[in-house]
């Protein structure tokens, strides 16, 4: 990507962190004292049974949902309670469990909107959109990278499920995010498309050096990609560590399976 990262990121520093995050909705304790640090350049996967609070955690970390208590830091800066668009501009991108696209617009236009988001200023915005302006170029590059560059004028609504996932990734890339949150990127993707998408996510993480947090149900996908795995259960982060450690962890086993029946 030609886009320069929004913030200077030091390798090894903490890119994104949640501190003692609690989320209570309608009296339900959705997140219980969750603390998590994601190092710059790291790939963290979050697993846990349905309803464990994984998506809620993503929502809190991406500041879409303000936590009831606790803080979210992005590159060391407290971003709790900031409006989502400001945080997006500081280099945080996310995808959604069910694809969330501009369905009535072309692929290029989807990527373009994402590419333009960071340096959008009303002041410079009243310029005509051209075929070859830098923003459009960036959008094209992102589409090429995910393999959707061949027919960029198709409408997003014409895409298959797997392709929509790719377009979401392209948007995050075009956005120039350096921290990306993926909420079940494989949900609804056909089995045959999974390996390609896994490869794509790996490339994005490795070659583009994106700090990545992923919630995912496919265990083999998680084991394939993650450098660290966090396990959530009943809104709490009950274990976090390297994959082999997590696999061997008894607590994790019980939590995942419930008590033996």
């Amino acid at each position: 990507m030609t886009a320069a990262p929004a913030n200077e990121v030091l390798p090894g520093s903490v890119a994104l962190s949640g501190r003692a995050v609690n989320l209570v909705i309608d009296g339900h304790h959705i997140l219980v004292d969750v603390s998590v640090d994601v190092a710059a350049g790291e790939f963290l996967a979050i697993i846990g049974p349905n309803g464990a609070g994984k998506t809620s955690l993503i929502n809190v970390l991406s500041v879409a949902t303000p936590p009831t208590s606790g803080k979210v830091h992005l590159h060391g800066r407290d971003v709790t309670g900031l409006p989502p668009h400001r945080v997006a501009r500081s280099g945080l991108g996310r995808t959604f469990q069910t694809s969330n696209l501009f369905l009535g617009r072309s692929l290029l236009e989807n990527a373009r909107l994402a590419a333009n988001g960071r340096d959008s200023r009303l002041r410079t915005g009243f310029r005509r959109v051209l075929k070859d302006d830098p923003v459009t170029e960036r959008a094209r590059e992102a589409l090429d990278l995910v393999g959707l560059g061949r027919r960029p004028d198709r409408l997003a609504s014409e895409l298959s499920h797997g392709e929509r996932r790719k377009l979401e990734l392209a948007m995050v890339l075009a956005q120039g995010a350096n921290v990306i949150l993926l909420d079940e990127p494989m949900a609804g993707v056909s089995v045959d498309d999974v390996p390609e998408l896994v490869e794509l996510i790996r490339r994005v993480h490795r070659e583009q050096g994106k700090t990545t947090v992923m919630v995912e149900h496919h265990m083999h996908v998680v084991l394939d990609l993650a450098e660290r795995i966090g396990v959530m259960h009943h809104g709490a982060m009950i274990a976090i560590g390297p994959p082999d450690e997590i696999i061997a962890n008894d607590v994790v086993q019980t939590a995942y399976m419930g008590e033996p029946l």
Binding site: H85, L103, L108, L113, A114, S120, G125, R128, R151, D153
Partner: protein
């Protein structure tokens, strides 16, 4: 420029030229207009149709392109209209200072009004815009701030510049209205092709997503609404000149609904569609009453005469039918035809030409 683009610009240019020479055409068109085309009466009807077209285009910018359904456009058109007349009538200001001052005040009103209304979304926004416009309408009907109550106010003697005054100069007024449409159309058409315009269309489709990729949705909505409402006030200025004054008819709920109706009739999200809908609406609205007193209608049984004498009855029915059966409005007929033609010609999907604006696409408003 692509071939179809050149064709489109050519057609638009031709249309403007044709409209511009109408005041030289001395012909009657049946009973459609009050007299020969270049008679002052006919030219005034035509000028009002053009002003309506401009107003509809401005609403389409916020409704069709940004997804902000305003039921209060009469506030801005009406404010521009009244402010022009009242300020120009002030001897210290006169027309030359009154109009710019009216526009400045209109911008302020547009900023404040939209800042409040945009606190709500969806149906709440609709109701808020409507209610604020109604506040203005009441103020005007009660005659506050020198608005003259139910009769309205007219330009004082000698206030309007000579070329715009008097029956003989109606053609100048007509040209002014034509210029207004061209200016408003060009501004809006250019705007929707800018980066900001693309973001507006993104907001229309998916406001949440737009926010998440880094846009301040509220600011963009404010921009769209403020520009739209300011241009609407400009339409009000020209309306005041065409009518020689201001009256409560332009400030009320009815006018707000009329502009919405024009846009929906013509096709939301298509600027020329909105203009077409407006021309049609305004024509029927102005001419139906006199048509209904013609021999054709008076010969009909009474049960048919009543509805036919009420333009709003026919317009309302047309509106309902469009909503039920043709949500894309009149413009969707054309876009469907042209799409079929292009896909036949090309045989495969169009080449990308740099993110063409959505003018040719089906609008998708409520999600």
């Amino acid at each position: 420029m692509t071939r179809s683009g050149a064709l489109r610009y050519g057609a638009a240019g031709l249309l403007v030229v044709v409209l511009a020479v109408l005041p030289f055409v001395h012909r009657s068109v049946g009973g459609l207009l009050p007299g020969p085309i270049n008679s002052p009466g006919s030219l005034q009807v035509l000028a009002l149709m053009l002003v309506a077209a401009a107003a509809a285009i401005t609403l389409d910018l916020m409704f069709g392109y940004t997804g902000l359904m305003s039921f209060g456009h009469s506030l801005y058109v009406g404010f521009g209209c009244y402010a022009t007349v009242i300020l120009s009538n002030n001897p210290k200001l006169g027309f030359a200072l009154g109009v710019p001052l009216a526009m400045v005040l209109s911008v302020v009103v547009a900023l404040v009004g939209n800042a409040a209304a945009l606190r709500l979304t969806g149906i709440g926004f609709i109701m808020a815009t409507l209610a604020m416009a109604q506040g203005f309408a009441i103020a005007v009907e009660r005659g506050f701030l020198g608005s003259g109550g139910e009769v309205g106010v007219t330009f004082a003697r000698g206030v309007l510049p000579d070329p715009l005054r008097g029956v003989l100069n109606t053609r100048n007024v007509y040209w002014l209205a034509l210029a207004l449409v061209v200016v408003v159309y060009v501004i809006c058409a250019l705007l929707v092709r800018t980066h900001v315009g693309h973001v507006w269309q993104g907001i229309r489709e998916n406001p949440l997503r737009t926010k998440v990729i880094g846009y301040n949705v509220y600011a963009y909505q404010m921009a769209a609404a403020t520009i739209s409402c300011t241009l609407a006030a400009m339409c009000g200025v020209v309306f005041a000149i065409v009518m020689g004054g201001a009256n409560p008819g332009i400030a009320g709920l009815h006018y707000s609904l009329a502009v919405v109706l024009m846009v929906v009739l013509g096709g939301r999200g298509v600027l020329w569609g909105a203009a077409l809908g407006a021309v049609l609406y305004q024509f029927l609205n102005l001419r139906l009453p006199s048509l209904s007193s013609s021999d054709i209608v008076t010969g009909l049984p009474e049960i048919l005469q009543i509805p036919l004498s009420q333009p709003n009855f026919l317009l309302g029915v047309a509106f309902i039918l469009i909503i039920l059966f043709m949500p894309g409005g009149l413009a969707s007929i054309f876009t469907r035809l042209t799409r079929r033609a292009t896909s036949k010609r090309a045989g495969e999907p169009r080449d990308d030409d740099g993110g063409v604006p959505a003018t040719t696409r089906e609008p998708n408003l409520v999600s």
